[in-house]
Symmetry: C2
Subunit: 589 residues, 2 copies
């Protein structure tokens, strides 16, 4: 692969410091490529390895343009903005023109991340970056330290979770475009919040996907559940790899993003000697060296394979952390949630204890669900490398009706689940609204324009939940109401139990941040004792200066637990979710 430019974006239309444009597009099989902007038709010059390029003063920031590849008019695969959506022209953007004021910002230690996952379209009434910005003080007050924004790459229409994005470099126009994104990150940094961006490198969405017209971005060597697999190891892959590495670098460098959450990396198939994820890690390390800034890479991965988060020197891909869905599954079953589908592999409280101890519940046992031995050991992996949660967009939204925990569990159980996440040695993540026990659902919604695709999505969604139809109809993903119903209700956190839950979360978060034994992410200084009959777990965590004891009662009744201790150093109660102030039955002694 040609040496990657770490300092500058090189694909699409970019401006140098004199506002002179450099145009560069990969179209290896084309015989003619032109750029059309206004009345200008600029012929690009063929370069090595299938690139077409031009330096020109004929295009300025704010101009719209098309590429014409062998006569076919197409938007730019590296477009930064699609002002008229996925089928329209691209707009030239000067990423360097934003006036950053976050020079004082320093990315916190990963161990200090308390993550808040949000979806731009449904987080606020406005449904855009401005809407998020207006809530930053609220989030600071809640105590979180990092927001995680679901994917913002341009998708069809203005309602989508973000995983149907088809312009990895373009920030969704209806959210506020690239400048809106820069503005949001700048505001976050100035308020002391880190920003994690969710990016999707395992597939591209089905509508507005013009990549095949440019080059072999896809391969049929592998499948993904969501469409053609990205070509990371087949003919032409050098340039595809470059494209995605450049995408990573752009977000971190030009948008000041602190960390990327990479969607479903288990669906990124790559038999190259150096896996694309490792190559990404290595380039991010180069960027960090050059900029002096710290960035984190967090993988969503369901392979329970420590290789993804092991350092490169140990044969790993070098990601900083990964999501642990299995902690969620074990917690949910322990809480009395249903046990169908992938939950069948989880036995509840014993597996929750297992998750506290190993991160991966399956770390080498036979999985009935997967019908194979599954997972690696996690010895030596720090707790900060595992992101845990009691809810997230998938676990909520992939239910037929998108019910949050508030609709499925008692108030008491919701409190217990929140506590279970917060006392772990892992990185805690909240899903927007869980902190006030939001009652609105988070459902699956799209706003495609392709009628066949709309029908296919509708049918797919119905088929997925065929067994549940007795319990109601799957909401129509294309309906505006499905989207609107999924918005947070910002009136709730001021009311009754919702306000109480909000204060409960604030208190928990503050404990997590202030108590040395909770702040630590060392997994060695922890003991986990499970009593399956009683449905209780006793967790101890300690540092040199402090030892905390956490009693988790998943049963429906009050219980007495022998917690040992001695008279010289009696236990002191830090927090008690059963107290009447938290709407509990009665305070423990």
């Amino acid at each position: 692969m040609a040496k990657q430019n770490i300092i500058n974006r090189t694909l699409g239309v970019n401006f140098n410091n004199d506002k002179f444009a450099t145009v560069n597009v990969w179209a290896p099989d084309a015989t003619e490529v032109t750029l059309q902007t206004g009345n200008a038709h600029l012929t690009l010059i063929k370069q090595e390895r299938g690139y077409w390029a031009l330096d020109t003063d004929k295009i300025k920031a704010g101009d719209t343009y098309w590429f014409k590849v062998d006569g076919k008019q197409l938007p730019d695969p590296a477009s930064l903005l699609q002002p008229e959506g996925v089928h329209g022209p691209s707009e030239a953007v000067d990423l360097k023109s934003f006036n950053w004021t976050d020079q004082q910002w320093k990315n916190p230690l990963l161990a200090d991340y308390i993550i808040y996952e949000l979806h731009t379209g449904t987080f606020s009434a406005e449904g855009n970056f401005k809407g998020i910005e207006e809530k930053l003080d609220y989030l600071i007050d809640l105590g979180i330290t990092a927001i995680e924004i679901m994917p913002v790459s341009q998708f069809p229409g203005d309602r989508n979770w973000g995983y149907d994005g088809v312009f990895p470099f373009a920030t969704q126009n209806s959210y506020g475009g690239p400048q809106g994104m820069q503005q949001l990150v700048n505001a976050c940094h100035n308020k002391g919040l880190a920003v994690i961006l969710d990016v999707v490198y395992n597939h591209l969405g089905p509508e507005g996907n013009y990549f095949g017209r440019f080059g072999p971005y896809f391969t049929d060597k592998y499948h993904t559940p969501w469409g053609a697999a990205i070509n990371f190891d087949d003919a032409g892959c050098d340039e595809v790899r470059r494209y995605f590495i450049e995408n990573v670098l752009m977000w971190l460098r030009d948008f000041h993003i602190d960390a990327l959450r990479m969607d479903a990396v288990h669906a990124i198939r790559d038999f190259s000697p150096v896996h694309i994820l490792q190559e990404i890690t290595e380039h991010v390390a180069q960027l960090a060296q050059q900029s002096g800034k710290t960035h984190y890479l967090i993988a969503e991965c369901d392979l329970n394979d420590a290789r993804y988060i092991n350092p490169v020197q140990k044969g790993g891909y070098g990601f900083d952390a990964q999501w642990i869905d299995e902690f969620h599954h074990a917690l949910r079953v322990a809480a009395g949630g249903e046990r169908n589908g992938y939950y069948t592999d989880f036995n509840g409280i014993a597996d929750l204890a297992n998750a506290y101890q190993n991160g991966y519940v399956y770390h080498g046992q036979y999985s009935e669900q997967r019908q194979k031995t599954f997972g690696t050991k996690t010895d030596g992996i720090n707790g900060r490398q595992f992101v845990v949660f009691s809810q997230n967009h998938d676990q909520v939204g992939n239910r037929m009706l998108g019910e949050r925990s508030s609709q499925l569990f008692s108030f008491g159980m919701q409190k217990l689940m929140a506590g279970a996440v917060m006392i772990s040695p892992f990185l805690p993540m909240l899903f927007m609204g869980e902190e006030w026990s939001e009652t609105n659902p988070f459902q699956f919604f799209v706003s495609h324009t392709d009628k066949k695709l709309i029908e296919a999505v509708r049918k797919g969604r119905k088929a997925e939940f065929a067994d549940f139809h007795a319990e109601g109809e799957a909401p129509d993903p294309q309906a505006v109401s499905t989207f609107e119903n999924s918005k947070l209700n910002w009136a709730l956190p001021h009311q009754g139990q919702h306000l109480l839950m909000l204060n409960y979360y604030k208190t928990l978060i503050s404990l997590k941040k202030q108590q040395p034994a909770f702040k630590k992410t060392d997994r060695n200084n922890m003991s986990v004792k499970v009593d399956e009959a009683a449905q209780t777990i006793i967790i101890q965590r300690w540092t040199d200066e402090q030892r905390v004891l956490c009693l988790l009662n998943f049963s429906k009744k009050d219980q007495e637990l022998n917690i040992g201790g001695n008279n010289n150093q009696p236990w002191q109660k830090l927090f008690d979710s059963a107290e009447p102030k938290w709407n509990g039955p009665v305070a423990s002694p």
Copy 2:
């Protein structure tokens, strides 16, 4: 995965020391499994993980048997012998009954392997293991130290290269079956020859393939060019992995095979945390520890990825060596062979020099043929880890007419190519008959019985060579004559130039074995100087005691080369292929 039994075969029908049979077959979705032998119908008892088992005295070695899976009569997937071919019953074999007399045998150092690849059916007039045994003295006299036998697992009919095998545990009945194989290995060892067996774990053949009736041996997650991919990482893979690991262990333990050559491991797709090849390596290491014997694993791999031969501690799969087709390609182009197909990536003499230096010609450069950057560095890899050749079954047989070098290159060039292989720091391999410049071709042949399959193979073969039809018809792979024409002509090595070539090879091999600088496989003690204009390469190799200088002239004319040296230690001529005794034009000074 359940702990693998290292000491005993556990699948199929096996006999303990009291000749009592243990029957075990994996059929996870079956509701009833019986074993039928003679008039006995024995019901197997369901075990954990989909196995069905029985201990019985109702079946003896030599009895034929079927499994009946939910009423369907099928041969045993772990059959050791198919006396009536792939569609017939299996025969119970007591592998422990063979009377081994090779207790004194010790597998040589890998660096001392001089390999002779042969195909059992066409090597001798008899076309079986006995036929090989009768030639062992010839092979010893030639100087080779290891024979490499193309796959012997049961295939349809009695004419096949072996890559259509469908019973990985069954030794081809027409070759002499398992006892014939044991007899051959025993004879080899008693004569001082190591035995490498070619095994195929990337697919199973198209005819007689009953695996799907037993369990999920295949996955549609990946493709291979030859049929369904083996399921090494999908649901049910634990038992498939066990099956192939047991196959490896059986050949090494029960057949005393010294090394396995594993076919096209690049087509073994496995995203498990521990790759099946690494798991195989680890089990072979366990076997070696238990038996005190040494075994080698040699991969055929076209990925130029050192991971396959790096040790496990360095993140590799731990294979001992791999084939280097690129040495062949570079050599062939340097020799003036055609440059179409995969040869387009090779420029001749400069790439040959490159191969001497790096093993992989492509070790990180852009490959036009593959359209991507290709290959890893090979620093630190010993020369004994690369197997090189100027011909092999594929390079000969995958030509439309199966011509050997004798039909394509001058006598002089054949000699040069032989020398080029033998002076390398790598493991040399000959393809049967090349040592006497055999003139018969080695063509592609099959003996399927499925008419549709026969037609498909015929058509596929014709299509593959569509561009070459002007130069003649592709031989019919199903015709007996194609097979017969591919047999070695053992009259030749006694005649004229053929005898001379044989003696030439003997002399070369003896130099390789006796000269310290040639014996060594250290790649550091070597210099390679290429002159593209003159089409010459000068190679120096040395040890503390000796320095040898090799002059390779790929041009059509005599050339003078300045070889330096000084008067105190003048060069002494060891060998000169241009001498009249080798039918050369004139001896060098």
